[in-house]
Subunit: 240 residues, 2 copies
Amino acid sequence: MNSIINNARIVLVGTTHPGNIGAAARAMKTMSQDNLYLVNPKEFPSAVATARAAGADDILANASIHDDLKSAISDCELVITTSARTRSIPWPMVSPRECAEKVAKSNGGNVAIVFGRENSGLSNEEMELGNLVLQIPTNADYSSLNLASAVQIICYELFLKRNANEGVVKEDKVPLVSQEKIEMFYEHLEECMIEIGYHDVNYPRRLMHRMRRLFNRAQLDESEWKILRGFLAKIQEKQK
Amino acid sequence: MNSIINNARIVLVGTTHPGNIGAAARAMKTMSQDNLYLVNPKEFPSAVATARAAGADDILANASIHDDLKSAISDCELVITTSARTRSIPWPMVSPRECAEKVAKSNGGNVAIVFGRENSGLSNEEMELGNLVLQIPTNADYSSLNLASAVQIICYELFLKRNANEGVVKEDKVPLVSQEKIEMFYEHLEECMIEIGYHDVNYPRRLMHRMRRLFNRAQLDESEWKILRGFLAKIQEKQK
């Protein structure tokens, strides 16, 4: 077993129907994924979920439950959100197969793949916590993938990729910063932009949104994070 | 639309739970497959099936119902059966991806992909009607794929194969900035870092090198470029 791909956590946000949680657990287990996170599920634990899990109830029993997405992914270095539609502000998009590639390259860091609510998906604020957006290609006239079906397809691609990768030596990579540190950077950046009078919170012009999109896409490593933080601190120091 | 792949019929044999028929129809429709054949379903039509089909009820309404597998596939050139386990008598085995290749090469002849009963699969007599056996790779310790999940994976591979030349996930892209503008940004950034005393050209610490690597990786678009340039100008203005 190659734990490098197995570590991807499947995060289900605001799931309405407990049956879908059970079916997702079953889908995961068939593909040897066992790391389930639930954010604010409407009903859980649930007998319906356990019934639908059909023998994958160990995954339900070990699920990690959170109040919001931020806390479910705070220790992740790569966060992949999912979307059924193309958003107006474009994010870097990946297909399921490309997603599996990204996960395989994550080199042991925590990775989250985040699935939204059955009807409304993820909010814009939740989308902004991600580095990449995963879109499953579907019929343009009917993209109504069931939640567990979407999980099944992704886990299938992860499984294929892991089996293809067995025995392949991973390249060395600089560690990426955690989601928590990224949030510290955004807070620092916003504070600094406000202090020098560049950012007006009463007239935000989607400025922080755009900065998040830029730096999430880039995925900062430790040394870049330190340089940017040092730069911001120096700007602030000069203000005083 | 390429009807050559669309013509693959999905044949469900002896399905026990009508909900699985509905879920399979939904899975098919998300992947633009609409050709459903049912062999001796336990309960059909069914309100449960229609509910689970969630808008794919046109596929249920058009389903072709048969008493035995033989009559459902009598006009097919290629019959691919599915099996969760390796049979004692070895058949030519294909993966979902290879199955999609075979279907793509069928050149307009009718193709059937046959799924067995939830608990017992296909009988040996039914298996013998097939040309190839399709096996979905799964966890060796838990291969309990839900029927609709299995249909989903196969239809996903058929869909990808059909769209292979069309660019699967379309990327909506804002124009990226020119190399010339990127250089202007790096000069501006360096100038600003020097002015506030963060960057010492006599002791550069590979700082600009790291910034180049970061922003080259991110590939700035026009609006991001303007925001960053505006930010730098404001920092400089505050210095004076």
